[in-house]
């Protein structure tokens, strides 16, 4: 390994990250929790040809998901053709009737997609989850790389590593592709949001204006940025880092104080682009996940390059039987939850818990999916200076500009708990840089 020198700098890098405010914040049950997002200096290294394979599969998947979203909010052909049962669409909390018949600029719904993968002990990569709403995390490996380059420049001259600092360029290209004329802005819920670091960092890197809701206003049927001295500048594209519900109190949750009244009406008229488009929740629901390989075949006529983890839908009778027969070997997920919540392992339940869960499963079969527990590969992390193996996943970022672009890096998250498979940062995990080798 040529990066031993880097490991000695772990503490320095973490101190710098803390100073830059690289934290991770989450809302759960209306309370806000903020925690440091510990960095581990041992990178995940992916060979060039392996990454080329991932890239092919990721592009294919995100193309199909975008086609699915367009179809659902217009013709719904995939439902009419019986590929996906209608209950999985229209009863999903991610389906938004407000988006019916609305066509986003250039038909792009998911401009920035965060696709979570794991590599099994069988050396096969599996898709765990698609995040098509407001996936975060790209800034962590960007800033970590920058700090590592500073603390250990030699490492990066010796190794042929794809420079991941081009993410800003990719993001700008994505912005410009759909901009309807005017400024690019990044809409943040504000400086007290713990992802504020990422918002300001990406704004600075892409040359976009960082704004909060009160700085944007709708006049007639256009969106404007109101400058400090009261001037109105037309906005052409908004990379919004607030969720659909809070985006526009006149169209979505009326209680929202951070949104911009009527912004969605401007979007509907085609006078501004929203990245990502509202309504994407219908495509990254855990129930819909099951159908993504079918979508790829349906829309693209191709075999999926990347596999899902083997998944069962108790909604189907055969699958329900399988789930009940193999309960102890499966992980069960509540389709409405995210961030590692609502995930339970069959073999970790007490008899009573199991009984209660099965009763719930039978009453609301659509609410759950069941998956084989993938024994995924460990990556070494440093603990008290010694390498120890921990479970880790990879969030790959796919940007949809004039063509799909896969960022040659990604956020590798790991579990600090040796017995845990849950790597989500909201569950106290840490992160690594992801090095994609260029040859």
């Amino acid at each position: 390994m040529n990066h031993l020198e880097l490991l000695e700098h772990t503490d320095t890098v973490n101190e710098l990250l803390a100073r830059y405010g690289v934290k991770f914040g989450i809302y759960k049950n209306n309370t806000f929790k903020e925690q440091l997002f510990p960095f581990d200096a041992i990178p995940r290294i992916i060979e060039a040809d392996e990454y080329a394979y991932l890239e092919k599969g990721l592009k294919q998947r995100v193309l199909a998901l975008n086609m699915f979203l367009k179809d659902i909010y217009s013709k719904k052909q995939i439902v009419k053709d019986g590929v996906i049962p209608k209950d999985f669409i229209f009863a999903s909390s991610g389906y938004m009737a407000e988006c019916e018949g609305v066509v986003p600029p250039k038909d792009i719904y998911s401009h920035i997609s965060g696709i979570d993968l794991v590599k099994g002990k069988d050396n096969v990569w599996y898709i765990l989850e698609d995040n098509l709403r407001v996936p975060s995390g790209a800034s962590y490996p960007m800033i970590a790389r920058e700090l590592c380059r500073r603390s250990s420049p030699g490492t990066f001259t010796d190794l042929k590593i794809e420079d991941n600092r081009n993410y800003a360029k990719l993001l700008k290209r994505t912005f410009d592709n759909v901009n309807t004329g005017g400024l690019n802005v990044i809409l943040t819920p504000g400086r007290y949001n713990a992802a504020y670091f990422e918002h300001s960092f990406l704004a600075e890197q892409t040359g976009a204006q960082l704004v909060n809701g009160s700085e944007l206003t709708v006049k007639d049927d256009m969106l404007y940025f109101v400058t400090a001295d009261g001037k109105y500048e037309k906005v052409g594209a908004v990379y919004r880092r607030i969720s659909d519900e809070y985006l526009d109190p006149m169209n979505f949750n009326p209680e929202s104080l951070i949104g911009i009244p009527h912004i969605y009406d401007v979007f509907k008229k085609g006078n501004v682009a929203l990245l990502n488009a509202p309504g994407n929740g219908v495509a990254d629901d855990k129930g819909i996940y099951y159908f993504v390989p079918k979508m790829i075949k349906y829309y693209l006529g191709e075999e999926p390059v990347l596999s899902n983890a083997p998944t069962y839908l108790p909604f189907y009778e055969d699958d329900m039987k399988y789930v009940l027969d193999n309960f102890d070997n499966l992980v069960l997920k509540d389709v409405a939850e995210a961030g590692g919540y609502g995930v339970v392992f069959g073999n970790k339940m007490t008899a009573q818990q199991k009984e209660d869960f099965i009763a719930l499963l039978k009453a609301e079969p659509r609410r759950f999916i069941a998956q084989e527990v993938i024994d995924f590969q460990d990556l070494d992390i440093l603990e008290d200076g010694k390498p120890v193996p921990r479970k880790a996943d990879l969030r790959a970022f796919v940007l949809m500009a004039d063509e799909p672009l896969v960022w040659k890096s990604g956020l590798t998250r790991f579990s600090r708990n040796p017995d845990s498979f849950i790597v989500n940062s909201s569950q106290g995990g840490g992160f690594k840089d992801t090095w994609v080798l260029s040859q």
Partner: protein, 261 residues
């Protein structure tokens, strides 16, 4: 067939000054196979510019921002309607009818509605149209009209459990029951001849046609009805939505007048 003249007026009075407000108003009847609308006049006080748009279900709406300070906001729409031009509305957009076949929001059935369904409705043997007539009659007999007994957020299940409600609740419960029968049904807002407030009823899909049925009055929709719009439940059909800066406490008065022209 009837020729009707309708007036819808809404006034909001504030206890203190409103500096600006955003509004979206969804109470503009549109042409359908059943009705033809003419001579629409919209007045707003304070006077303000507005934009036209459509919601996800293609209902007409106007929206805008009032930034003149005001202590009351008044909106008035009037027009002429020829009604009863057809028994049904053509299901032109088969795409969206799918949306109305799934339980959603306020129209979801719970245990009480399911029990009622199992006991009284599940075994009705008739064609779709007659089934709906029969279900509506059973609901009409089992549920009492009582104004003020529910609010805008009351679910079908909550209303049915307490045994009384208003037109919104009748409609939600009927939609829940029809969904259990596998019949596609949607919530409709509109006006009914006479004076009072806006009204709600249900449309169901039968052989590519939407028929209207009014569970509150236990009758098929006829030429006394002017439709404003439709959605999955009452929340989809909120007539007036607004956000204001300032204003304090507010009181809202709505008056609807529909008479033969």
């Amino acid at each position: 067939m009837k020729k009707l003249h309708f007036t819808y007026e809404m006034q909001i009075d504030y206890s203190s000054q409103v500096n600006s407000c955003n509004f979206t108003i969804k109470c503009i009847p549109a042409d359908t196979l059943r009705q033809k609308i003419d001579n629409i006049k919209i007045n707003m006080y304070p006077e303000t510019d507005y934009q036209w748009g459509k919601d996800g279900f293609k209902n007409l709406q106007i929206w805008g921002k009032e930034d003149k300070p005001h202590k009351s906001f008044r909106f008035r729409i009037e027009g002429d309607a020829q009604t009863g031009l057809s028994e049904f509305e053509e299901c032109e957009d088969t795409d969206l009818s799918m949306v109305f076949s799934c339980p959603h929001g306020l129209n979801k059935a719970g245990e009480t509605i399911r029990n009622f369904f199992d006991k009284k409705i599940n075994n009705i043997d008739a064609c779709t149209y007659d089934k709906v007539i029969a279900v509506t009659k059973l609901l009409f007999e089992a549920f009492k009209y009582q104004s003020g007994s529910t609010n805008v957020n009351t679910t079908a299940e909550e209303a049915f459990s307490q045994g009384c409600g208003v037109c919104q609740d009748y409609s939600h419960i009927l939609i829940a029951l029809l969904h259990l029968l596998g019949i596609t049904a949607r919530y409709v807002t509109g006006f009914i001849i006479g004076e009072g407030e806006s009204h709600a009823w249900v449309e169901f899909l039968d052989d590519g046609k939407w028929y209207g049925i009014d569970p509150t009055n236990n009758t098929p929709v006829n030429d006394d009805y002017i439709k404003i719009g439709h959605g999955r439940d009452a929340r989809d059909c909120t007539i007036n939505r607004g956000i204001m800066q300032g204003g304090g406490l507010h009181t809202q008065t709505v008056s609807v007048n529909v008479r033969e022209a």
